[in-house]
Structures are given as structure tokens and as C-alpha cells.
């Protein structure tokens, strides 16, 4: 007996404020005007995607004490854009990244519950954490959170928000004009939460929304992040978009679910993926090389080398060899407001390895950054990209992908027009929406009120 074909889930990540986004292309439009978001969302909905995804950063990035000016800078407010997009789409899920450090559960819960009402059940929350005092300078409380407490705050934040969502069962509003009863329960929305991070009580003021709770995403890759996802998330926005890494990650996270009384279908793994299409595979490869060079200018290459070296390298020639000087391993980092600098845990070893690779291949600084940076995940003809995506999913390297185009706002159009029809023809991607809510699209159960405790580790 052969395994039944898995259905692929596809989502669209609005191009972000990093060097994946090519703003210098003549096709590149505004990343702030609503028309760009509307175009992008309508393309995703035309292609029957599961959802649109917005990232967030709460302070402009700096490097060497100055605002980083080489990438797209600036973005609109997540909730406000998603609510407006609900007006120009009917079925597309609306996923927003919202920080659990620089917000409060009551406010975030009423925003997500409101978004869920206003979109007819299409909201999702990518729960992220931060602790840095750098971002904290934009907020009343400042950088108040020790690094080691960020996940404990995030988990309690989400748990508290779930208690607020569940404080309304969904049958309280009767609004019977004859009897004069608006509310069937005088205590609707009552809640008490006492914990390490939050000590709050009162009445939640948004009645239960169509999905009950927003769909929960988690994006962290650490041991703590994986455990958080296994316990509390509906989907993971992961980085592992190669077949081997993807399968390892998939196995690792799915095996953690049993501990929380959950089945393997209750947590979807959706890696971020970039793509370049072409009429032939060779044509696509050539386009991909061009895009990589657009993404990594000489100036950008030097700045990326600084992530590892942690010192000012502006005097170096990006077309020349790598610096002979070793990285500065001091605590203070030259780049602020970036998660990726933490990926280089041993900068001295990384620098050594990069010097060796550059020497062996006769690479300049720019060549090195182009080759070590993220190559596009899928490069090829629509048919070959469709085949690769399907192979990944059927091989349990993921349940689908969150696609990150490099052009705003039209970067998804070609994929929607050429790759999606092939996947639909093969019967592995929906030809039309079958349900109305994001939970419907993702095959997730509707949460029952009062089940907030169900996921406590046994």
C-alpha cells in the first residue's frame, strides 16, 4: 500500500527589510504603500495560498553606530495592514509577527481577536521574543527582560492570551430585543492570571472570534524554541529548506509532540523558501546568479563580513581578499537589531574557514559572501520547481513552504501563474478554497474553549 499524497501548504512572505529584497530592480515598487500589500495579497489569494505572512522589527537596524542604509528600511504596522488586507481579500489567511516582549497580553489578545472577527476567521500570530535593550529604548519599559527569561515570558504571554481568548465561550451574546437580554452571562470575559511575568485580572472585552483563537506560529530554532512550538504552536516558520536538514528538523520537532498529547498533524512545518524561475533550468540558474549579485553589492558584502569580524571593515576592497585581521570577539556587537549575528557562535573559526574557502576558490570578499549566503531554495523551470517542492513535502522535509519573493510587490506573480497550476494539476495543491477560515486551510481543529490547560506537558 502506498502512502497517500500529502497536500502542500503554500504561503507568501511579504518581502522584508533584509538583502533578500532587491529594491534596486526596475520592477521594485513601494514596500509601504497599501497598493503594494493589496497587489501581493490578491496574487496570493488568486493562487489559493494558505496565508500571507508579515515579519516585524521594532527598531531600525544599526551597524557601526549608524542606521543601516543598504537594505529596504521601514515597514508599516502589522495589525493595521492585516486589518486593511481583510477588506481586499476573502479567504487568504493573515499572519502577523508580534513580539511578546514589548507588548501586553490584554492588548495583543484584543487585537488578534478583533482581527479574527474583522477577517471572518483568518488571523494568525507568529509569536516572537526579544530581550535587547537596543529595541527596548523605543518602549516605556525599556530593555527590562534578561535574555534567559525571554522564552518563559513568551510562553506565559501566549498562555495568558489563550486564557483571554477562552474567557468567552461563544454563546454569551444573545441580543434578544424582546427580553432585553444582550448578554446571557454576567461574567463573560472574566479572567484571573497570576504568574511570574503577568499578574492580571478582570474582564476581557472582545467576544469569542470565529476561529476561537488565532492560529499560532513559532519561528525560533533553538532547543527552547522547538519545545515551545511542540507544546503551544500550530505551525513552525523554520529555516531548514534543504532536503536533509528539513527532514532532520521535521523528525525532531514532530517526535516532541507526543509529550504534549498532540498528534503529528497538529503542528505544521513550513520553512521559508526563495525561488527563481526560468524558461529552462540553465536560464533560471543564470537569473539566480544575477539576483545574488543584486542582493550582495560590494558594500553589502563588507557589512555582512562585519557580522563575523565585528569590526569596521569599510577600508577593505570588496573585490579584494578577505581581511588578515581576526574578528573582535568582545561582547558588544557592531550590528544591532539583527538576530543573524548570533548564528556565528565561534567567529574565529568561521573567519578561518571562510579565509580557506576564499583562497581555495580564488574568491573576493563579495564572491565569498555571495557563495556562503543563502542561495535561492528553488531554481529552475516551473515544472522542475513544482517537482522539487512536491518531493520535499512527500519526503517529510516539510508540510509546505512560506515563499519569500525578492521583488515587491510583483515577485509572486510568476510563481502563481506558472508553478501553482502544475501543483494543482498533480492534485497536491488545492484548486480552490474548501473552507473559509485559516484553520480550515491548514487542516487544524477548532479549539474548544477551556482547553488552554490541555497542552501542559504530562
Amino acid at each position: 500500500m502506498t502512502k497517500p499524497l500529502k497536500q502542500i501548504h503554500l504561503a507568501a512572505h511579504f518581502p522584508g527589510v533584509n538583502n533578500t529584497t532587491v529594491w534596486s530592480d526596475p520592477e521594485a515598487g513601494s514596500h509601504i504603500e497599501f497598493s503594494s500589500f493589496a497587489h501581493f495579497a490578491r496574487t496570493a489569494e488568486r493562487a489559493k495560498f494558505d496565508f500571507l505572512f508579515l515579519a516585524e522589527g521594532l527598531r531600525l537596524r544599526e551597524q557601526g553606530g549608524q542606521i543601516y542604509d543598504l537594505d529596504v528600511v521601514g515597514r508599516p504596522d502589522t495589525f493595521t495592514v492585516l486589518a486593511a488586507l481583510a477588506a481586499v481579500t476573502d479567504r487568504l489567511g493573515l499572519t502577523g509577527t508580534i513580539n511578546s516582549t514589548f507588548n501586553e497580553p490584554y492588548e495583543v489578545a484584543r487585537q488578534f481577536a478583533s482581527l479574527d472577527h474583522l477577517s471572518g476567521g483568518r488571523s494568525a500570530w507568529n509569536v516572537v521574543t526579544s530581550w535587547d535593550a537596543f529595541t527596548g529604548e523605543n518602549f516605556r519599559r525599556g530593555g527590562f527582560l534578561p535574555q534567559h527569561e525571554r522564552y518563559s515570558r513568551a510562553r506565559e504571554f501566549l498562555g495568558t492570551a489563550n486564557e483571554l481568548f477562552d474567557s468567552w465561550r461563544g454563546d454569551e451574546i444573545v441580543a434578544d430585543p424582546d427580553t432585553g437580554t444582550f448578554l446571557a452571562d454576567a461574567k463573560a470575559g472574566a479572567f484571573v492570571h497570576q504568574g511570574q511575568h503577568f499578574d492580571i485580572h478582570g474582564r476581557f472585552d472582545v467576544p469569542r472570534s470565529p476561529q476561537g483563537r488565532p492560529v499560532i506560529f513559532q519561528a525560533g530554532d533553538s532547543e527552547e524554541g522547538r519545545e515551545f512550538a511542540a507544546a503551544d504552536a500550530d505551525a513552525i516558520f523554520s529555516r531548514h529548506a534543504t532536503l536533509e536538514e528539513g527532514r532532520d528538523f521535521y523528525r525532531d520537532v514532530k517526535r516532541r509532540l507526543a509529550k504534549y498529547g498532540r498528534g503529528p498533524d497538529e503542528l505544521l512545518i513550513l520553512p521559508a523558501a526563495t525561488f527563481v524561475l526560468g524558461d529552462t533550468d540553465a536560464d533560471a540558474e543564470e537569473r539566480a546568479r544575477e539576483v545574488r549579485r543584486q542582493q550582495v553589492s560590494g558594500a553589502t558584502a563588507l557589512k555582512h563580513l562585519e557580522f563575523v569580524w565585528n569590526r569596521d571593515l569599510s577600508s577593505y576592497d570588496p573585490e579584494g581578499p578577505l581581511p588578515g585581521v581576526d574578528p573582535d570577539v568582545s561582547e558588544e556587537h557592531i550590528a544591532r537589531g539583527r538576530a543573524q549575528v548570533r548564528m556565528y557562535r565561534d567567529p574565529l573559526a568561521t573567519a578561518r574557514e571562510w579565509r580557506e574557502r576564499a583562497a581555495a576558490n580564488n574568491w573576493s570578499i563579495r564572491d565569498l559572501v555571495i557563495h556562503t549566503g543563502n542561495r535561492q531554495t528553488f531554481v529552475g523551470t516551473p515544472a522542475s520547481v513544482a517537482r522539487t517542492i512536491n518531493d520535499f513535502v512527500q519526503a517529510d522535509a516539510s508540510d509546505g513552504f512560506i515563499l519569500v519573493p525578492h521583488i515587491t510587490p510583483g515577485g509572486l506573480d510568476e510563481f502563481a501563474d506558472t508553478v501553482v497550476p502544475i501543483l494543482q494539476e498533480q492534485g497536491v495543491f488545492r484548486a480552490d478554497y474548501e473552507g473559509t477560515t485559516l484553520r480550515d486551510h491548514l487542516g487544524l481543529a477548532h479549539p474548544d474553549a477551556g482547553s488552554a490547560d490541555r497542552r501542559e506537558a504530562s
Binding site: 515597514r75 504596522d77 477588506a87 472577527h117 519599559r141 503577568f198 492580571i200 472585552d205
Partner: protein, 399 residues
């Protein structure tokens, strides 16, 4: 605001639940069961836009509605529950073209950084029609929803301790608005350069730290959101006394006040104008609108009967901080013209029942005011500031 021709009047409506009368939800026109759907709000705002109104305000709070001023109640016979006002405004924005959208934000418990980018973004999604109405929260139960600080219970608004506490909350709101406004200006209009030659997306000399330091909080900036289309979206506040009049005079573009007669209107306007001068803003336009609750029918007797019936269903006569008007569109137009003679530049009408009194405003009052030559016959500007005769302000940080 000096002008040789009589200044046209401005009209806004304040939307709250199914209307301002607590029994409004029981009226057949109220559609109370749709209250938490996007369509409900889209229809109301479309009706207001049909009447060429300057803007709608959306009430909000960080706790359940209550019949008591400073504490929750357990009533089940009135509308309870609501949606976030900024999100409702954003949801309606792409469906409308001209009308201004002014959600309520609560300064006391929110982050000015979040509020600033949210309203800037509302300005983007509405292409220049956003504003905010800033409000404080003195309710201890709302403070308990946040738990960051405790609010001493205020039993009597008139006691010296309460007055001091309220004054502190208004001072904090003024700081909140100051931060919101600075963040809107923290990007110069031409900061985004997309200069392919140098590889620079922005000119960082045109991005500004706001470095706000106040007794209650400090905020660094710049915003993550570029300067919105209007430069400075509209800032408005409701005020009933000297302390909030000060906030109106120093920080807002429109103040809503609650005079019950022309004499009171004149006195309030004089107080705000004097404070405006002290703030060094005498040359800037600052609108003062009167709030009026309206029960509106072509036949005044029907309006009165309707009010009686609603009061009866509510179990008590409706009272309000604002003057309650009951009558015909012609009578309301008379009152509006009389109040305007006291120096008010506009009116924010609170429909007693949205489903009935909002269409009565747009289809009854508006044509009457148009006949009298005191209200627009077509939208004459693309932005909310434009509708109110406010120019796009220069950026405080631009050299």
C-alpha cells in the same frame, strides 16, 4: 481662523456600539447581532460618507463597557464587548474614499511607539484620512488588565486627590501625544532615496532620533514607519474641564466639548483660545467641535416618542455629558447655527441609535445645512486635514 466668507461648518459622527442610547441595540434598525462583523462597521461608515461628513470617530476602551464611570458593572441588558477601534478603522479604510477615520486610543496603558506606527499606517491604508482621538483611563479595573502599575480607586471625581490623579493622567497623555507626533516626523518625506549608484536605500541624515525624555517614560526612535501621507494625522480629544482643555489647546487639531447652551459654548471656546495662545499656537488652526447626542425625526413628536420608548426600555431616562437634542433636522440645523455663532467650528454628533439617527443625519440634517449654505455639497479635498482646512505641516526635524 479668519475668513471673509462664513466658515463652513464641519460635521463628524461618533460611533459606539449600536448607538449612544443604552437601549439602542433593541431597535430593529440596530442589527445588534452583526455588531462584531466587518460588514456592520463598513455599512455605518459608508452611510456617513454618503452624507459627506468630515470624519467618524470610533469609541474604544481597554475594558468592558460599564454604566458606571469608574468601575465595571455586571449588567446584561446593554451592549458589552467591542472590537479594537484602530483595526475597525483599517478594515473600513479600503472600502471608503473620502471620509476621515478617527479611532480612539488610550494613552494610559499603551505604547506611544505602537500607537504612532498604527495611526501612520492607518494613514497609508486610507491614503491620508487617518486621525486619532486620545483618551485617558482612570479606571482601576482597566489598570488591572495590564498590571504594570496600580491605579488608586477614584470614588469621587471632584475630590482634590482625584483631581490631582486625573491631571497626572492628562500630563502623561500629553507626553504620549508628543512622542506619537515626533515619531511621525522622525522620517523626513524624502528620506527614502533608492540611490542605486551608492547602494543606499535611505538617506540616514533624514532619519531622526526623537530622544524623548519625560518623567514617566523615554523613547528613542526613529519610527519604523515612514512619515505618513498627511505628515501629521489628525489628533483630537474630548474635554470637559480646564485640565483637558489644556491638552486640547497644546496638542490637538480638534477638541470636542460639551456645552449645553450658547453661553457655555462661548466660555469654553474663550478658555481654549486663551490656552492656545499660551501654547504659542495662536496662528495655527484649532477646531473646537460641540458634541451633541441626537434623536432625529422629521416629526419632532416622533423623535420625542422614540426617546421616551428607549428610556422606558432602559428603565431610566438617558443622561449624557453632552447636550441631548430631540427634534427635527430643521430644528437641529437651527441649534447648530446658534452654537456656531459662539465660535464653534464643527459638531460631532452622537446618534442615539445608529441605524436610525445616522441616516437621519446624512439624509435629513445634511441637506438642510446644504440648503442654508453652511455645509459642503461635495468632498473638496483628498485628505482629512484638507477637509478641515489644515495644511500639511512642515517636518519639525527638516533643516
Amino acid at each position: 481662523m479668519s475668513s471673509t466668507s462664513p466658515a463652513p461648518l464641519h460635521l463628524a459622527v461618533a460611533l459606539d456600539g449600536t448607538g449612544w442610547h443604552p437601549a439602542s441595540w433593541r431597535e430593529p434598525s440596530a442589527r445588534a447581532r452583526d455588531l462584531f462583523t466587518a460588514g456592520h462597521w463598513a455599512d455605518l461608515v459608508a452611510e456617513a460618507e454618503r452624507g459627506l461628513l468630515d470624519f467618524v470617530t470610533l469609541e474604544d476602551g481597554l475594558g468592558l463597557q460599564s454604566s458606571r464611570l469608574l468601575a465595571p458593572d455586571d449588567r446584561t441588558d446593554q451592549v458589552r464587548g467591542r472590537l479594537d477601534a484602530v483595526l475597525v478603522a483599517a478594515r473600513v479604510a479600503p472600502l471608503t474614499r473620502h471620509i476621515g477615520l478617527v479611532p480612539t486610543v488610550i494613552a494610559t496603558h499603551t505604547e506611544p511607539f505602537h500607537i504612532s506606527k498604527a495611526v501612520a499606517t492607518l494613514d497609508y491604508v486610507s491614503t491620508g484620512r487617518a486621525g486619532l482621538r486620545v483618551k485617558i483611563s482612570a479606571r482601576p479595573d482597566e489598570a488591572a488588565h495590564f498590571g504594570r502599575r496600580t491605579a488608586p480607586a477614584i470614588d469621587d471625581y471632584e475630590s482634590p486627590e482625584s483631581q490631582e490623579r486625573v491631571a497626572e493622567l492628562f500630563d502623561e497623555a500629553a507626553d504620549h501625544v508628543e512622542v506619537v507626533r515626533r515619531l511621525w516626523d522622525s522620517w523626513e518625506d524624502d528620506a527614502e532615496i533608492r540611490d542605486a549608484a551608492t547602494g543606499r536605500f535611505v538617506d540616514r541624515d533624514k532619519l531622526h532620533y526623537i530622544d524623548f525624555q519625560g518623567p514617566r517614560f523615554s523613547v528613542k526612535g526613529p519610527s519604523i514607519t515612514p512619515r505618513p501621507p498627511q505628515g501629521q494625522p489628525l489628533v483630537t480629544a474630548l474635554a470637559h474641564a480646564t485640565v483637558p482643555y489644556r491638552l486640547v489647546a497644546w496638542q490637538t487639531d480638534v477638541g470636542y466639548v460639551t456645552p449645553h447652551d450658547t453661553g457655555q459654548a462661548r466660555a469654553i471656546v474663550a478658555e481654549i483660545r486663551a490656552e492656545q495662545e499660551r501654547a504659542g499656537r495662536a496662528a495655527e488652526p484649532l477646531h473646537v467641535f460641540a458634541d451633541l447626542v441626537v434623536f432625529l425625526d422629521d416629526d419632532p413628536a416622533r423623535a420625542a416618542a422614540r426617546r421616551d420608548r428607549l428610556d422606558e426600555r432602559a428603565g431610566q431616562p438617558y443622561t449624557s455629558d453632552a447636550r441631548i437634542f430631540t427634534g427635527s433636522p430643521v430644528q437641529l440645523a437651527d441649534l447648530i447655527e446658534e452654537f456656531a455663532s459662539a465660535g464653534l467650528t464643527g459638531f460631532r454628533l452622537r446618534p442615539a441609535v445608529h441605524g436610525h439617527d445616522l441616516p437621519a443625519i446624512t439624509r435629513g440634517l445634511v441637506p438642510e445645512l446644504q440648503r442654508r449654505g453652511v455645509f459642503r455639497r461635495a468632498y473638496e479635498a483628498d485628505t482629512l486635514r484638507g477637509l478641515l482646512g489644515l495644511s500639511r505641516p512642515a517636518n519639525r526635524y527638516a533643516a
